[in-house]
Amino acid sequence: MRDAPGTRDYDWWLVAILAAICALGVIEIYSATHGSALAGMHLKQIRWLVVGVVLMFALSRVDYHVIMDQAPILYIIGIAALLAVLLVGHTRFGAKRWIPVMGEFLQVSELVKLIIIIVLARFFAEVRTDELSLQDLIKAGLIVGLPLALILKQPDLGTALVLMPMLVVGAFLAGLQWKHAAAIVLIGVLMLPAGWHFLKPYQKERVTSFLHPEEDAKGSGYQVLQSKIAVGSGGFWGKGFGNGSQNQLGYIPVRYSDFIMSAWAEEQGFKGVLLALGLYMALLLRLVQNAQRAKDRAGMFLVMGVAAALGFHVLVNVAMVIGAMPVTGIPLPLMSYGGSATLFVFLAIGLVMNVRLRRFVN
C-alpha cells in the first residue's frame, strides 16, 4: 500500500460545492413540506446527508485500486442483488426496486450504478490500445447490458438509462472510433421502434404525453404542465421562500423529490436557477478536472464514470422539470429528497476523492 494521504489533499472546493447544493436541497425540501403532512422531511434528508458524508470519507480512504481489484466480485454481487430484488424485493409505487436494509428501504439499482462505474473503469483501464476495438466495445456493452436488462425488468427505466452515459463516456475516453459511434447511433435509431415495443404501458404513456402533453391533462402531461407553470410563474426573481403557490398548494408533483427543481425555480426564480445550475456546472467541471489530474487511466475512468452519471441525472431531471424531456423518475443529485440516491452520490464522490487523494502518489 502507498502512503496514506493527508486531509489537505481532499478536494475541499468540491466539498464546498456539494455542501452548497445540499443546502439548497434542504431549504427547498423544507419549504415544500413544512406546512403539510410531510413536515420534517428536511431533517430526514440531513440525516441521509450526514450518513453520506461519513461514507464518502470512509470510501476515500480505501485505495481505489484495491476497490477496482474486486470489480468482478462486485459485479457478481450487483447482479445477484438485482436478481434478489426481482425475486423478493419490496414493491412500492408499482415497481420492485427496494430491499429493506436497517429499517430503511434501499434501492438496489443505486448500488448497482456504483458497481457499474467501478467495473467499467476497470474494464476500460485494461484496454491498452489508443483506439477502442469493436470487440472491446461489444464486451463493454455486454457488461452494461446484463444489469441494464435486470433493472428494466423492475421496472426502472430511469436508472437503467443512467447506465448508458457511463458506457458512452467510458467508451469515448477509451478511444471510441467515430465509425463505431456512427454505427451505434444508426442501429439505435433503427432499433427505436423495436425498443418501443418493450416499454411498459406507463412508460409509453410518459413518452406520448411528453410528445403530446395536451392529450393527457391529468397524467404525466399534467405533472409536466404544472411543473412548467411553477417554473414560469416564478419569473426572474421568484416568489420567495415558502411563497410558491404551485409548490405550497401541491400542484407540483413530488415537489420535494423529482420535481424539487420546479419548486426551487418557482420560489427563487431565474436567479435561483442560475445559482443552482451554476453549482452543478462547477461540480461537473470540478470532476472533469479531477479526472484530468488523475494519476492513471483507472482513476480517470472512475472519476469520469461518476461525472457521466451525475451529469446525466442533472440533465434529464432538469430537462424534465422544464418539459424538455419525458418524465423518467430520475432525481436531481443531492437536492431531491431520497436516501438511496443521496448515498449513491456521496459514495460516488467518495470514489472521486479517492482518486484525487492518490494523484501524486506513485
Partner: protein, 646 residues
Amino acid sequence: MSYWFRNDNRLPQERLAAASYVIVGMIALLLLGFWKLQVIDSDKYGQLAERNRVRSIPIIAPRGRMLDRDGRVLVDNYPSFSVLLLRDDSAAVDKNLPAIADGLGLSLDDLKEQLNNTINLPKFQPIVIKPEATPADVAFIESHRADVPLLEMLMVHRRRYLPGGFMSHASGYVGEVSEQQIEASNGRLRPGDFAGKSGLERQYNDLLMGTDGMRRVVVNSVGKEMKEMRLSQQEAIPGKQIQLTIDYDLQEVAEKALADKKGAIVALDPRSGEILAFVSRPAPDPNDFAVRVSKEEWQRLNEDEDRPLLNRVTQAQLAPGSVFKIVMATAMLESKVPAENFTAFCPGSATFYGRQFKCWVYGKGGHGVVNLHAAIVHSCDVFFYNVGMRMGIDRISKYAKMLGLGSKTGIDLPSEEPGLVPSEEWVQRVFHHKWYPGSTISVAIGQGAVTVTPLQIAYAIGGIASGGVFKQPHLLKDAARVGEMHVDLAEDTVEQVTQGMYGVVNEGGTGGAIKLQGIEFCGKSGSAQIMSNTERNRLGKGLSQNKDNAWFVGYAPRRNPEIVVTVLVEGGEHGAGTSGPIVRDIVKAYYDKKEKKNQGQATTALRKDELGNSENRGTPESGKAAVKPEESAAVLSTSEKKKARP
C-alpha cells in the same frame, strides 16, 4: 493485488476537455430553457398559476322584493343551495360525470346535454347543474371533495310567492334564462341565472335583478379551499325592492271572490291609473317554477283547456256584451247621432235588414218605449240596435277607439293584447269583403267582432266617469311617468252616462240587487254570448263552454271615481248576478278600509296629542310595513262582519 492497471498514465486530455465543453453546453441549454419559461413566458405562466390557485365562485345577488302599496311583502326570497360544476379541467369532468350524475341523482344524458349547451362559455365559469341541493347532495359533495374536486355549492336566493297563485299573473315568475335572453343581455346574464319570465318579474327585471358578486378563494391541488388565505371579494349588489300599487286587502278579497271560477278581476284607481287588485284565474302557482319546471309540467300547463297561463286581465280578448253599451251611449251623446232625446220602442225584439234581433227580455215581454237613460239602466238591446244602425260601424269604431278600446292600455306588463274594434276598413283588410250592415247591429250591443280585455273595460269606464281623463294603468307605485290621455267629452255626456250607470245599481236596473248603502256605486253588467244563439242551439245548450261570459264593471263614486272594478267570469252567464256581487264586495272592501284608515288616523292623531309626540306617523299601515298579510286580512274580515248589517 494483480497488476492489471500497470500505472498507465496516458490520459485522453483532448477528450476530457471536450467533456468539459459538453458540460458547459448542457448547462447553458438548460438555462436557456429556464430563461424561456421564467423570463419570456413568465406572464403567461403567472396567469396559469393564478388560475390554478384561485377559484372564482359567484355570490348571487338577491332579487328585489315586491311590496304592496302599504309596504306589505308580496314576493320574497329564501336562501337555497345550488350545485356548481367546475369545468376548468374537461378531462376530469368527462371522467367524473357518471359519478356526479349518480351522486346527485341526475340523469347522465341530461347532464351531458347541459354541458354541450354551455360549451361556448369560458372554461373557468362554473355552471349550475342542480338548483335545489338536498342535504344528501350536500353530504355527497363534502365527502367527495378529494376524489371529485369539481363540485361546489353556491348560495342562491329563490323566489317565494304567496301560495295558491295569489296575484301570480301580475307578479309573473322567474326562471332560468334562455339562450335568447343571454344573448340579448350583453353579458349580464349567464346560463343558470334566473330572470323574470313573465309579469312584473319580467317587466321590471332590470330593477329587480341585482349584480352578482364574486368570491375568490384559494384552492389546493385537490380542490380544497384554503380558508386561511383570504382574497379580495366583490360583493353582490342586491336588486331593488319595488313597491306595487296593489292593495293586499283588496287583492285578497278579489282572489277569494273569484276562487275556482275562470275569469279575471281588475280594480284600479282612475285618478292615478294605479291598479289596486289584479286577478286572473285559473292561476299557476309560481312557486312551482321557482326552482326548475319540468317539461311535463310545462306541457300540461300549456295544453290545459282552462289556459292557466293566460293572463285574462290583459290577454283575454272577449266580446264585452252589454258593457259596450256605455261606449255606445257616450258615442251617441258625443256624435248626436241619433239625437239625445232619441227613443225606441222595445217589444222584445226588432228586425233589421230582414233579420230578427232579440232583446235580452225576449219572451218575457219588452221594455216598451225607452230613452237612453232607461236603455242603460235596463240594458235594452233594441234601443242600442237602433242607435247602432243609425250611427254606422265606422262611427262606433271611431268612438270606441277614442275611448281606449282596440289598443293596448300601456299597462306595465309584458304581452298585453289590444282587443279588436271592427270597422269597414278592417273587414276589407282581413276578410276582403264589404262590411255587412247587419253586423253593426250585433256590435252595438258588444257582440260580433268587437273584443276587449277586462283591463280595457276598467280603463274606458274609469276614463269616461272621470270626464275624459284616461290615466295609464300601472302596477309600479313609483312609476316615473304615467301616461295620460284626454278625451274631449261634453259635461252633459259624462253626466248622462254616469247617471245611467248609477241607475243600473240604484234605480232598480240590472244591478239593482247589489246596491251599497251610503256609497255612490255605479256599474254596468254584460252577459256576452260566446257564439250566436243559432250556433248554440245546434251544439246543445248545457255545455258550460258555451255559457255566456258574465261581465260587470262597477265604480264609485259616480263622478270622478276613486275605484273602478271589472269582473269577468267566463261562463258565468249573468253579468249582474255572477260578477256584480264580486264588484260590489271589492268596492265595499275599498270603502271599509278607507273608513278604517280615517278612523285609524283619527286615533293616531288623538294618541299623538296625548303623548305629545311630534313625529308624523302617517297611516298605521305604512307605519308598520312588516305587517303580515294574514294579520291584516283577519282584521279586515272582522270589520266586515261588524259592518255587514248596518
